[in-house]
């Protein structure tokens, strides 16, 4: 079966979860504090998380195309569909942008003009951290990503019907290669800028040069985990017969390798700050280690220790059950990682704002910190919101998947992908 059709049962299921997500968001909004901090942090957290999965899928496609890889071709329609999620992702970012101008959320400390005026550090950063740049950066850069996503998708689908192979010297494929190569350097720089704006500026005083790559690695692992889970499910439905254990083995290597890469960046960021011991830098970790210890250390266990030990063995990457376990752990783990990036800073900002600008805000913020669902740990509402976003993501991706053949018929690397073998002992299993 090379043509995917979303059955009405699956459609109902996904729409049900979307409604659950919506319900959870409404409940969060109604039961929230005066500034709706919990609602807005959840919204930013999930939007950036799933938007990033879309972006990194486009990056994966471009990187694999540029490096002349062949093995992934049989599953490239999944990543193409993931990358198209950039479009709804940008739409989801718009309420946050509007909130900066209309001041109906307090996610960013630097968005508060009165605070910036009396704060030397924020004044110094205000050339970059201001609503104009936030708006322009998001619209222009995500707009550019969408342009590349559409370009690669259109050319790839066009190749199915118009590709003539050797007869016209793979002209369509050469265009895919061209746009991929153009996208890569743009992706590298632009993603860093957007990560600074969307996530790092939540802790407005703080900065780290490692942060962009660290977040990018988190997106990468999440995208791989979601790819594995979706492919396992679709294979169970009888699709993707040409995706074999060998392909899963390679996806597992990526999941493993980028979990270790994420740990490397996490630790590099941590150790440099710990070693230099400069107050304005260490505050980021001090805050998280003191007030959010379960999330802080749990993050390392879920995203490093467990995937490292579970996925290390060669043959564990060839067993569906172990791979699904590893993918679920890392997916939830990196969702929690983003949770921990967004929540403490935004909570602090909101508490200062609520305590008023009278000068005692800072102090009040420190005293008011306690264990609270939605901040110290993700409550049921956060879980429901995440499931809603996930259902929306999958609904969008699966309806895109319907639009084209699952097998890119005229891709020059298709045969290589079909005969992909990485493990000489497969027949003895």
């Amino acid at each position: 079966m090379n043509q995917f059709t979303l059955q009405s049962r699956q459609r109902t299921f996904l729409i049900g979860f979307m409604l659950l997500g919506l319900l959870c968001m409404v409940i969060t909004y109604l039961t929230d504090d005066a500034l709706h901090t919990r609602f807005w942090t959840n919204y930013l957290h999930n939007t950036v998380f799933f938007l990033g999965i879309g972006f990194i899928s486009l990056f994966i496609l471009a990187a694999f195309t540029t490096s002349w890889a062949g093995w992934y071709v049989g599953m490239k329609r999944v990543w193409e569909s993931f990358s198209l999620f950039l479009i709804p992702g940008l739409v989801l970012m718009i309420p946050i942008i509007l909130g900066l101008w209309g001041h109906f959320h307090h996610l960013y400390h630097w968005a508060d003009k009165a605070e910036v005026a009396k704060d030397a550090i924020l004044t110094g950063k205000s050339g970059f951290l201001n609503p104009v740049w936030y708006t322009l950066g998001t619209l222009i850069l995500v707009g550019a990503w969408i342009f590349f996503a559409l370009k690669l998708r259109q050319l790839s689908v066009l190749e199915d019907t118009q590709g003539k192979g050797v007869a016209d010297n793979f002209s369509i494929h050469r265009w895919i290669r061209f746009w991929s190569a153009v996208f890569l350097p743009i992706a590298g720089f632009s993603s860093a800028v957007l990560i600074w704006q969307w996530l790092m500026s939540v802790d407005s005083h703080w900065y780290s040069t490692m942060f962009a790559w660290y977040t990018g690695a988190s997106w990468f692992v999440s995208a791989m985990a979601l790819t594995i889970l979706l492919l396992v499910y679709l294979k169970g439905q009888g699709y993707f017969a040409h995706v074999t254990t060998n392909h899963f083995h390679d996806l597992g290597k990526f999941l493993f390798a980028f979990s270790v890469f994420w740990t490397y960046l996490w630790f590099s960021q941590f150790m440099l700050i710990w070693y230099a011991n400069i107050g304005e830098e260490t505050i980021y970790f001090h805050e998280r280690m003191t007030n959010y210890p379960a999330l802080f250390y749990g993050n390392l266990i879920l995203n490093f220790v467990l995937p490292f030990l579970v996925l290390m063995r060669n043959d564990s990457k060839r067993k569906t059950g172990i791979m699904v376990t590893g993918a679920v752990i890392t997916f939830l783990g990196h969702w929690l990682d983003f949770f921990l990036m967004v929540k403490p800073g935004a909570r602090h900002t909101a508490m200062e704002a609520m305590a008023g600008h009278g000068g005692h805000g800072e102090e009040a913020a420190h005293h008011a910190l306690g264990v609270a669902a939605g901040f110290s740990y993700p409550g049921l509402l956060e879980l429901g919101t995440m499931l809603g976003f996930l259902a929306f993501f999958l609904y969008f991706v699966l309806t895109r998947l319907e639009k084209a053949s699952l097998l890119p018929h005229n891709d020059p690397y298709l045969q290589e992908s079909k005969h992909h073998a990485v493990w000489p002992f497969a027949e003895h299993e």
């Binding site: 150790m271 070693y275 011991n277 290390m312 060669n314 000489p424 002992f425 027949e427 003895h428």
Partner: protein, 176 residues
């Protein structure tokens, strides 16, 4: 040390794909191959020879674990017992600072240990010299070898026939 001499009949091939087909044919004809020698790893040879999975990586994991422990415990001993120094007001037992050294020791132990183990189990350990069937199998020839010490004349003829049919460019015998 007592050495048993073996009478080896071996054929040399010019190309690895011809060699791979020959190995498949030998397996199909139920000929008992003593060993195959190639100048570089040939893709698909493990399956053709029905070799089982190497256990080298298990050894690698154990060496790595020993390396990690050695690195971490050595740092702990040096900076808490042997020569405690205060760096930038940090405690003596500063775990984050020990991680890079622990990591490096893990890599060092795993890599050196695996190389030594690999050479030893391949019969190329320290002080061991192995007879070479033909110097050219370390350069550009591919070789299939049969042990014919116990073989009858007609079996040897059969093997020579196999070499002719499977495209060997040369057939020789050597006592090792």
């Amino acid at each position: 040390m007592k050495t048993t001499h073996k009478e080896v009949l071996f054929g040399l091939y010019d190309d690895e794909s011809v060699l791979l087909h020959a190995v498949h044919k030998a397996k199909h004809d139920h000929l008992e191959i003593m060993d195959v020698f190639t100048p570089f790893p040939v893709h698909g040879m493990e399956e053709a020879l029905h070799l089982s999975e190497s256990r080298l990586h298990i050894a690698g994991f154990i060496y790595g674990a020993i390396g990690a422990l050695t690195g971490f415990l050595a740092m702990t001993w040096i900076f808490t017992r042997d020569w405690p120094i205060i760096f930038g007001g940090k405690p003596y037992w500063s775990v984050p600072a020990f991680i890079p050294i622990t990591f490096e020791m893990t890599v060092l132990f795993a890599s050196v240990g695996m190389v030594v183990t690999f050479f030893t189990v391949s019969g190329m350990g320290f002080g061991v010299t192995n007879p070479t069937l033909d110097d050219r199998i370390t350069d550009d020839k591919f070789c299939i070898a049969f042990d014919v010490s116990q073989s009858e004349e007609e079996d040897v003829e059969r093997l020579k026939g196999f070499f002719r049919e499977s495209g060997a460019s040369e057939v020789n015998t050597k006592t090792i």
